[in-house]
């Protein structure tokens, strides 16, 4: 498997460093060679897009050009960056004039072709659920989670490649493969409002509240996401929501990569669970212990069964002997 260009994007450098490190750890453990895109810069995010199309496409094209120095495949764990880079790549390829314009205002032109992956996409295509199952070291069967895709991992299917943008499945498949207890809910893709978190926080407080309610309704103890913006919104702002809405949510929000890491045997410390506002460690520890108990219980039952069978056999044998002796 060749080298892979890695585009962290601004959030993963600081506000989502745990997403960054857990992702690198997991991907490398799964045998992928990552190289950070040299001198990568911001994808422009929504502000660029809402200001000028050419600007937006050029800011992304620059990163694709840089990535191309390393590899023809690039993974962008942040779904927002992924959306920008992927759709720019698609558009620049479809539209020669745009490519010319874009190259017109960059220092050096971008002529290559780079396939952009989001995290779930990459894992399913390059690793696959079978391998994941084999890599499981810790039993997460007692960790009840709902996968939260947010806006940009599913929509639009022409970009993300999810079969249905309304019911994306990639995270579900990965989480099931690593043995977590995945609950179905019909709220996978309802927006949390993160992308306007800063200028209009009122918006997302309404939206996140619903997401927490739905998660509990689905019988989940934690929400799993692969988006730093959603995470910031659901985790860092959970206290805010509680104070504004008079609610009392305490729902850990885990990154997909963190859950994978835990399943693959890494410690909560290594997965930087401590970085979260709503501390997931008690929940995780609890789940692991419960799983151990359940397993022990099963083993005990199994052992008893064997013992009983053995006893029965001996009894039979003895009766036989006695009978013979009598004769």
């Amino acid at each position: 498997m060749g080298k892979l260009a890695y585009y962290p994007g601004c959030s993963l450098r600081h506000s989502a460093e745990e997403f960054d490190s857990s992702t690198r750890t997991v991907l490398e453990t799964l045998g992928m060679e990552l190289e950070e895109v040299p001198d990568w810069t911001c994808c422009g995010a929504s502000p660029a897009h809402m200001t000028d199309h050419l600007l937006a496409q050029t800011l992304t094209a620059r990163n694709l050009r840089q990535a191309h120095l390393v590899s023809e495949e690039m993974v962008a764990p942040c779904p927002a960056c992924y959306q920008r880079e992927k759709s720019a790549e698609l558009e620049i390829h479809a539209d020669a004039d745009l490519r010319a314009e874009v190259n017109g205002i960059m220092d050096r032109p971008y002529s290559g072709e780079v396939r952009v992956f989001n995290l779930p996409e990459l894992i399913l295509e390059r690793v696959g659920t079978e391998t994941l199952r084999r890599r499981v070291k810790q039993d997460l069967s007692q960790l009840r989670v709902v996968p939260y895709y947010g806006c940009l991992l599913g929509r639009p299917s022409e970009v993300t490649g999810e079969v249905d943008s309304e019911q994306p499945v990639r995270m579900d498949q990965i989480l099931e493969a690593v043995g977590a207890n995945v609950r179905w809910w019909n709220y996978k893709t309802e927006c949390c409002g993160a992308s306007v978190g800063v200028p209009k926080k009122i918006i997302q407080q309404q939206l996140t509240k619903r997401i927490f309610e739905q998660a509990l309704n689905a019988g989940a103890d934690a929400i799993v996401t692969a988006c730093p913006l959603c995470h910031q919104n659901l985790d860092m702002r959970q206290a805010q929501v509680n104070s504004h809405m008079g609610t009392d949510f305490h729902i850990p929000v885990l990154y997909l990569s963190q859950v994978m890491g835990l399943a693959m045997g890494f410690t909560p410390e290594k997965m930087l669970l401590a970085k979260h506002a709503v501390d997931p460690r008690p929940l995780v520890r609890g789940a692991l212990e419960k799983a151990a108990e359940v397993r022990a219980e099963e083993e005990r039952k199994a052992a008893e069964k064997v013992a009983r069978a053995k006893a029965r056999a001996e009894k039979k044998a003895k009766e036989k002997e006695d009978a013979e002796a009598a004769r």
Partner: protein, 186 residues
Amino acid sequence: MIRYDPQQATFYRDKLMERVKEDVAECYQCGNCTAGCPAAFTFDYPPNKIMRMLQVGMVDEVLASKSVQLCIQCLTCTARCPRNIDIAGIFEDLKTIAVVREMKVPEDADKFNRLFLQNIAKYGRLSEAMFLVRFNLASRKPMNDAGLGLPMMSKGKLEFLPKKSGGADEVGRIYKKALERSTWEN
């Protein structure tokens, strides 16, 4: 009393056709975009009404609306539109037009975007802390969103002395050139 403006209507319909390859005439006002919009309750006009206004040529009213600026580009409307219209795409296009026309837009949206872009034009990457502070000062709400800032700081997630990325200067040049080129007519 609303006056229909057929010229504006046709003019902007054609614009959209070439800019985002979408036809507002396709909209049959089912309201699904409004129904699913997570931000609509902060809008002055619901999305389906924006579509209607475009159909009849109330383009200026639309460009001046909060709705356009407060759209959060979650693509829910686009994904669920029974007529397969990329409504989010249309909203995005409207925002860029507002910028080019240097219109006074509500909700500091322009400020937010400008500061954001200036920030990356300077450092190449977004320095979240620096940006937060700048925006709050600019919008005269110094403690705005402290609710986010504080926990982040306590978790050591904010960096206050931004480092320049190697690509910063090029980004600066791109920013300049792009904005010189962009006009409402293309």
